[in-house]
Symmetry: C2
DNA sequence: TATATGTATTTTGTATTCATATACTTAATG
DNA sequence: CATTAAGTATATGAATACAAAATACATATA
C-alpha cells in the first residue's frame, strides 16, 4: 500500500477548494444575490492568501455565479425573473432532447437502474420521506441525461439546473406535488421502455413546462 | 465632455487581455491541440507577469479550450471526433429552437436587417467574394439567435460555435456549397417572415444537419 | 448648509518571492 | 547495456509585496 500515491491523487489546488466552497455557499443561498465578495475577507476566513481566492472568483464568474466589475469588486450575481424563465425555457427544450436521445441510446442496465429509482421514489412517497423523494427525483433525471450519451449536453443541462437551484433556494423554497411528479416520471419511464423518442421528449418537456408554469405564476403574483 | 470616463470604460485587466490573446490563438489554430501552455513563456512573450497569465488559463479551462493537470501544466484541449459530433448534435437542436423562438419574437426592424444581410450575401455570391459570404453567413445566423430574445440560449450557441470553429480551422478548412447555404437561408428567412416556428425550426435544423452530415462523412473516410 | 477639495484608508491589479513537486541529466550498479 | 538512484534544473502552487485606483472621511470654502 502506497500512501503517497493516494495523497497525490487526492491533491486539490487551493483555488479549487475555495471555488467549491464559494460555489456551495452561493448555491445554498448562504451568499445572497448582490452580496459583495471581498478577497481579504474570504482569504482570512479560509486561512489562505488572496491568490487562490482570486482564482476561485474568476471561475465563478465564468459560471455566471458572480459578476465582476474591474477595479471595483466581485458580487454574487443577481437572478432576475427574466433570467430564471430563460433558464427554464432552455431546460424544457434540452431535457426533452436528452430524453429523446435516451430513448434511442439507453441500455438494459440503465433501464433497470431507472426502474429501481422509481421504486425508491414510491417508497419515499409511502413514508412521506421528502428528502428521499427529492434525491430520487434528481437521480431519475440524472440517469436519463447520462443515457443521452452526450457529455456536453449533460454539462449544459447540469449547469442550467444549478442556476435554477440557486433561484429555488433564494426565492422559491417550495417543492410540492409529489404525486404529479410521480405520474410524470412514470410516463417518461414508459416512453424509455418503449424506445419511443417522440413520447419521451413530449413527457420530459411537459415535466419542465409544469415547473415553468408554476414559477411563472409565482413570479407574476 | 469627460475624457476620464472614456478612458476608464476602456480599461481592461491584463488577465482579460491575455485571455483574449490565448483564446484567439487557440481559435485560429495557431496553438494546436495538445500543445503545452507554459506560464513563464507566455508571460515573457506578452511582457507581463505570471499572475495574469494564470488567470487567463483558468478562464480558458472553464471554456473547454484548455485542460489543466495540477502541478503538471496546462495543455490546449484535444478535440476528438466524438466531441465535435456532440457539439453539432446540440447545435442542431438549439439552433432549431432559436429559430422557432425567433419566428415568434422577431420584430420588423430585425426582419429588415435580415433581408439586407441576405442581399449582401447574394452580392458576395455574384462577386465570388468568399470572405463577405462567410461574414454574411455568420451575421445571418447571429441575427436569428438574437431574435430569440433568450440571452442564455445565445451564449450557449455561440459557445458551441466557438468549439466547432476551432475544429474547422485545425482539421477541416473547407467552407463550400455556397449555393446550398443560400437556398437554406432563403427558406429560413421565409419561415421567419411567415411567423412560422415549426418551419423555421425544421429549416434551421436541416441547416446544421447538413454540416453534421458533411463532417461525419469527412470523419469516417 | 451644501458643495468642493484634499487626505487617509481600503481594495483591487500586478509583480515578485519562496516552497515544493515534477522532469531531466548524469552517474553508478547489476 | 539497461536500469535505477541521486542530484540538478524547471515549472507550478501559493504567499507576500508593491502600485494604483476607488472609497470614505474630514476639512475648507462659498
Amino acid at each position: 500500500m502506497n500512501f503517497n500515491k493516494l495523497e497525490i491523487r487526492n491533491y486539490k489546488p487551493l483555488g479549487e477548494v475555495v471555488f467549491e466552497y464559494l460555489r456551495n455557499a452561493i448555491l445554498s443561498g448562504e451568499l445572497k444575490p448582490g452580496e459583495r465578495l471581498m478577497e481579504v475577507t474570504i482569504a482570512d476566513q479560509l486561512g489562505v492568501s488572496r491568490t487562490p481566492v482570486r482564482e476561485a472568483i474568476r471561475k465563478l464568474e465564468k459560471e455566471n455565479f458572480v459578476i465582476m466589475i474591474p477595479r471595483k469588486g466581485a458580487y454574487v450575481a443577481d437572478l432576475t425573473k427574466k433570467d430564471i424563465l430563460e433558464v427554464l425555457e432552455i431546460r424544457k427544450e434540452l431535457e426533452g432532447f436528452a430524453a429523446a436521445l435516451a430513448a434511442e441510446r439507453m441500455n438494459d442496465t440503465e433501464r433497470e437502474k431507472l426502474g429501481r429509482v422509481i421504486e425508491d421514489f414510491n417508497d419515499g412517497m409511502i413514508n412521506m420521506d421528502k428528502k428521499r423523494m427529492i434525491d430520487c427525483d434528481n437521480e431519475f433525471h440524472s440517469l436519463i441525461f447520462y443515457a443521452s450519451k452526450n457529455q456536453r449536453l449533460i454539462n449544459i443541462i447540469f449547469d442550467l439546473h444549478d442556476q435554477f437551484q440557486r433561484f429555488r433556494l433564494v426565492y422559491f423554497n417550495e417543492f410540492n406535488n409529489f404525486h404529479e411528479i410521480q405520474m410524470s416520471h412514470g410516463r417518461i419511464f414508459e416512453a424509455l421502455l418503449l424506445n419511443d423518442p417522440k413520447m419521451a421528449r413530449k413527457e420530459a418537456e411537459e415535466h419542465v413546462e409544469n415547473i415553468r408554469a408554476l414559477v411563472n405564476r409565482w413570479i407574476t403574483e
